[in-house]
Symmetry: C2
Subunit: 256 residues, 2 copies
């Protein structure tokens, strides 16, 4: 026997704009592409289309800056209007450098430029901000999909991000509904019956990464992937914020 799951990247997606009903589009495109949604599918949705549907786009030409933004902009070689957008999203600024402004977002996630990004956004000076409350966005999608298609799915909203120690972006989950983000082995036996002490796997991030492999980050136009046939823990009441570690509790504190 083998344990098999599939990752299905949905092509044929329309360009998403403010006010669009994403659940409706996802259900329709999945149907049209020959993969109607099923119970226990995990629907992985690129942050970018959630932000677009929710109107979380900003034109730099609409942003007015102050001295603080000009100063940081100069220091970090950044457009001061972009600096202002980053500061607006941040709870705390952790680093300013030429390559990156690293912040802790209001929901506790540490990321570069507060997740503000230009790619796949129309308009030369238009940027996308992260959804205001990605867990809530995921939960709404999950409920609406159940209403429209009669199926019980999990939803993960994901974004690509740089990470310490290792080169290149990988995809992380930033908003979640309908599943436990972890598979916890602590206290469970290994192959030889020894109890595992420290293994707690962040499956929600692994799921985002497996979806990125078909979604891509460029002009692939695949903003949604379905993970089908995977054994995972469907559950209510979880949040992507469970994935974020407070800096003072970080195992790697002091290393970088």
């Amino acid at each position: 026997m083998a344990k098999v799951y599939r990752v299905i990247g949905l092509e044929g997606f329309p360009l998403v704009k403010e006010g669009d009903d994403l659940a409706e589009i996802i259900v329709e495109v999945a149907e049209k592409e020959g993969f109607p949604l099923e119970d226990r599918d995990i629907i992985v949705v690129a942050q970018k289309i959630v932000s677009k549907a929710e109107g979380r786009l900003v034109r730099l030409s609409d942003v007015e800056v102050g001295g603080e933004h000009r100063e940081t902009g100069e220091y970090a070689e950044r457009d001061p209007r972009l600096v202002k957008l980053v500061f607006n999203e941040a709870k705390e600024t952790l680093k300013k450098s030429e390559e990156a402004i690293v912040v802790e977002n209001k929901n506790g996630m540490i990321c570069i430029n507060a997740g503000i990004d230009k790619s796949n956004v129309e308009g030369r000076d238009t940027y996308s901000l992260l959804p205001l409350n990605p867990d809530l966005s995921a939960d709404k999608l999950r409920k609406k999909i159940r209403e429209l298609a009669g199926v019980d799915v999990a939803v993960a909203i994901c974004d690509s991000s740089s990470r310490p120690f290792r080169r290149g972006l990988v995809e992380f989950t930033i908003g979640l509904a309908g599943m436990n983000p972890f598979r916890d082995y602590r206290g469970k036996p290994d192959l030889f019956g020894y109890l595992l002490k420290v293994k707690n796997v962040a499956v929600a991030d692994e799921i985002a990464s497996s979806a990125e492999l078909v979604m891509g980050n460029g002009d692939e136009a695949i903003p949604v992937a379905i993970i089908r046939g995977l054994d995972f823990e469907m559950a209510e009441g979880h949040s992507a914020e469970e994935l974020f570690v407070k800096r003072e509790e970080d195992l790697f504190k002091g290393v970088l």
Copy 2:
């Protein structure tokens, strides 16, 4: 249309011991389980069975310690014999604390306890060390699989690891053969034709994560997964070491 790939976790794997020919076992088990290897499969192999086949197991009772190990052991609440094993594998020790000893391994990878691990290793005081040269191990597997099954595959040797900022382990690639670890978008267009400046995706790590979702970290007994149908860049001459960032060049330097 949809872009679909499959992740196939191979059950029915025998317990691996020193001297076993892993390529032979993988080819046979894949065949037996109904998934004979194909050209362009990516074979993801858990570090643990590579270490076992290569005899990279150590019994703590065989380890003799010195004062330095006792001192660090006391400080970090660790068995001083384990401390000695970690120091032996490390180029530099970056942090010692009760929860973790963080080191830079000789090949430049930053990890906890030098990747030394007890889980799924037989013998109450036996630990597994990482393969001496994981890229070479991957390359040998790739060549031997081609010889035995006449197919051209990529091989990724992977291990689960904690990471900064985010809770839980995810799977990373620590040894690689036959593929480019990155999908580089820099200079390529997005959906609207704007050229992407910074997107370089670490697909080798995303592949490891997608495999972990079926392989597991406990008593699942699935040490190998086949990634089939994925669009990726087969290529010679790459190394998992391309994934490791030097600390002085780390974007997040100073944040933790």
